[in-house]
């Protein structure tokens, strides 16, 4: 049995290949598959997962369509129609196919639910706003909170500036794939690609890539690796991502319940870095 790390590396390679395979990559993959039965197994599994999930979706959509027809027949009096082959069909009474197409894929999302949603959307929105308002009110008035809840309240995924992609990085294919993976939400893959690019770039850009890897790990819920990568950036005070790295490192510590490690970072953010000062102060008040 292969270990988790090997699994991840294989999965990552498959993702890279399938996300944008040119002829050179394809040839490389073909050769590699011939010599690597484990990779072959992983590739087959990846493709199967995609295919079977798509089939399930189609089956549920078809099942929803059949049920809609059965329901319609029950409502309009199936008994009267029995045996009368060729009777004209009242299409007007059926849900519009596009409507079904959009929603019927889910077992949970039943037709009557959809109708209910349609009728009571305004009420639902109103209730949501009131509920969120109450939640926000109680949260903002709490004197103390758990570190995990503070993390959830203050964490916002880092948005990589698209301008970065044309700032001397774009020539690197691997980096393009890393940005692309991040934008697709494939965060673990993105982190690994940023790390690889980090190894191959000139020193003046290395801490930026380490920072990107750190926030990608954090999004992928790999907190240990996130803390390690972000910690390296925080050690480089001259890095342009020093403030952001310190903020996300503090949040990473909160997420893993390490309040004592988060506190000094938040104190520094409060006094040294205006853009994070007020948020850091709020968190310190609530810890």
């Amino acid at each position: 049995m292969i270990n988790d790390k090997t699994n991840r590396e294989l999965y990552e390679e498959i993702e890279v290949w399938l996300s944008g395979m040119d002829s050179e990559d394809r040839e490389y993959l073909k050769n590699k598959l011939n010599n690597d039965s484990e990779l072959m197994r992983q590739l087959l599994l990846y493709k199967d997962v995609n295919r079977f999930a798509r089939e399930l979706h189609e089956e549920e959509r078809f099942s929803g369509l059949l049920k809609a027809i059965q329901d319609k027949k029950e409502k309009t009096g199936w008994e009267k129609d029995s045996g009368k082959a060729g009777k004209a069909v009242d299409f007007q009474s059926l849900p519009h196919p596009a409507f079904l197409e959009r929603y019927i894929g889910s077992r949970k999302v039943k037709r009557n639910f959809l109708l209910r949603v349609g009728v009571s959307a305004a009420a639902a929105v109103f209730l949501l706003v009131v509920t969120l308002g109450l939640v926000f009110y109680f949260q903002s008035n709490q004197q103390t909170d758990t570190p995990e809840r503070l993390f959830a309240a203050y964490y916002q995924p880092y948005q990589i500036d698209p301008a970065m992609r044309s700032d001397g990085y774009a020539e690197m294919e691997m980096l393009e794939k890393a940005f692309s993976a991040y934008n697709r939400g494939e965060f673990f893959l993105a982190a690994r690609l940023f790390e690889k690019a980090y190894e191959e770039l000139l020193p003046d850009k290395r801490t930026s890539l380490k920072f990107f890897a750190g926030v990608s790990y954090l999004e992928a819920e790999e907190e240990a690796m996130a803390k390690e990568a972000l910690g390296e950036v925080v050690d480089q005070r001259w890095s342009i991502f020093y403030p952001e790295a310190k903020w996300y490192l503090a949040l990473a510590y909160l997420k893993t319940g390490q309040v004592e490690k988060a506190k000094p970072l938040l104190e520094e953010l409060k006094t040294e870095i205006p853009q994070y000062a007020s948020k850091a102060e709020e968190i310190l008040d609530r810890i």
Binding site: Y46, F52, A53, R54, L65, K73, S82, S106, F188, A220
Partner: protein, 187 residues
């Protein structure tokens, strides 16, 4: 005859609503009559018809799938096969009187046994995912974009939606690889 048969299969495969309704109108009374004569009721007939159509839908996706009789005969045979399975499953099976027509179906290939081993492995582990993860994966592979999935699943942001999609697929891959049946299915 062959053209008509193929047309019905294609219509089923495409989920053509008007053909399905016509089919239901013409075929259901026959199936209902069969079920009621064999220890079932109207509700059983509804479920049976639905399940049989699902079996045919799944089979019709295979481009090599073909039937040698007319569609009505084939549907009737699938229904009889499934109904026999259902009767066997019932606890009071010994009290159920099985007609000679049904008995003649015994020995035929079971529908479930035709499911590929890899799909069984997938379904077993897919069912172990959270309900939200299952929905996210189905919607993703059903061709919906992230914006639509966010809206349907009521997720807070696109970023969160993409993150869920990634984590769910990763979780499923890991579950399948830890399943004792993995090595048999993929060796």
């Amino acid at each position: 005859m062959e053209n008509q048969r193929n047309r019905v299969l294609v219509a089923i495969c495409q989920g053509r609503e008007e053909i399905l309704e016509k089919l239901y109108q013409e075929e259901f009374p026959v199936i209902e009559n069969f079920v009621i004569k064999n220890n079932g009721n109207k509700e059983d007939a509804r479920d049976l018809f639905h399940d049989a159509m699902m079996v045919i839908f799944q089979k019709s996706r295979n481009k090599d799938f073909d039937i040698s009789c007319n569609f009505s005969t084939y549907l009737y045979a699938v229904c009889k096969n499934l109904w026999l399975k259902e009767l066997r499953r019932k606890k009071n099976f010994s009290d159920v009187e099985i007609g000679t027509e049904i008995q003649s179906m015994e020995g035929q290939e079971e529908v479930d046994d035709m499911m590929p081993i890899r799909k069984k492995l997938f379904l077993r582990n897919f069912s172990r995912l959270s309900a939200k993860c299952q929905e996210v994966l189905k919607l993703t592979m059903g061709g919906m974009d992230v914006e639509e999935i966010k809206s349907i699943m009521e997720f807070s942001s696109l970023q969160h939606t993409m993150n869920r999609k990634y984590r769910c697929k990763k979780a499923l891959m890991e579950l399948i690889q830890k399943d004792p049946g993995f090595w048999d299915a993929y060796s």
